[in-house]
Amino acid sequence: MIWRDDYKIGVELVDKQHEELFKRLGNFIKTVRSDSEKDVKKEEVEKTLDFMGEYVVTHFDSEEALQKKYNYPGYEEHHEIHENFKQEVIDFQKEYKNNDYNEDFVMEFSGRLLTWLINHVASTDQKIGDYINSIEEGK
């Protein structure tokens, strides 16, 4: 995945984490789209998905802590978006096993994730940056 400076929200910690998240999702997608044998691939897919999933939790936690620190008015709504996303990843991990590691299923999931993450970072998260920076400037 390609990281763009346009995606930055102007809060260093969050920007660094977003960039790392892009890297991890990129690795997951590369694995999903690789030509490896099914048995090898399913392990790699699970591994890279776990690796990304762990980081999603770390990142969401610190982003939400930051929102709380600044009394961000959109906190509740944003928290719900994060919770829904985490649940989707957990549901996918279960269903992927139950579907016998179906190729179409993981391709569909990762395609949606690609667009979702770019929108979340490039649009939804920008509001947090705008809010925090307006407070910092007012100090």
Partner: protein, 151 residues
């Protein structure tokens, strides 16, 4: 049919393409057609329910859909596979979500359904709506159509 319904979709398309893809879509003239047979291969259909009932349809050529997903992923895409169509479906979902938020500000309460993907040439997309409002956008990655059929 009210062309005002299409404006929030046009504005949302514009904004999402700029934010997510750094593309500035150039809008053509709005045209009305009977039914919708898409000449483009990758069609994303979003059902709309509530005060306005119908569907929003985003139609991309295969080439453009591949280029959009390449721009987002930084990886080469060769076919309209599940990864590509799902990424494009989510794009339609995001634009439509934004459009329904603007419609709500005009006191039209609507919900959207998850995206459906129809691929192939000369596909009949809409048959039950008399009139379909469409607009073609041109971008540096190709042109695409956005249509709104109201039941």
């Amino acid at each position: 049919m009210n062309a005002d319904y299409l404006n929030p979709i046009i504005a949302a398309t514009d904004s999402v393409f700029q934010t997510m893809l750094q593309l500035e879509p150039r809008k053509g003239k709005v045209f009305v057609q009977e039914g919708l047979v898409s000449r483009k291969e990758a069609n994303v259909i979003i059902g709309v329910t509530g005060d306005i009932k119908g569907s929003i349809i985003y139609s991309f050529s295969k080439d453009m859909a591949l280029k959009v997903v390449e721009a987002m992923s930084g990886m080469e895409m060769k076919e309209l596979d599940k990864f590509v169509t799902s990424a494009m479906g989510e794009l339609g979902n995001i634009i439509s979500g934004k459009a329904t938020t603007s419609l709500a500000e005009k006191n039209f309460t609507c919900d959207i359904a998850p995206p459906q993907i129809v691929t192939g040439k000369e596909v009949k997309i809409v048959t039950d709506a008399k009139n379909v409002l469409s607009v073609t956008f041109d971008t540096n990655l190709g042109s695409f159509d956005v249509s709104f059929s109201i039941n």
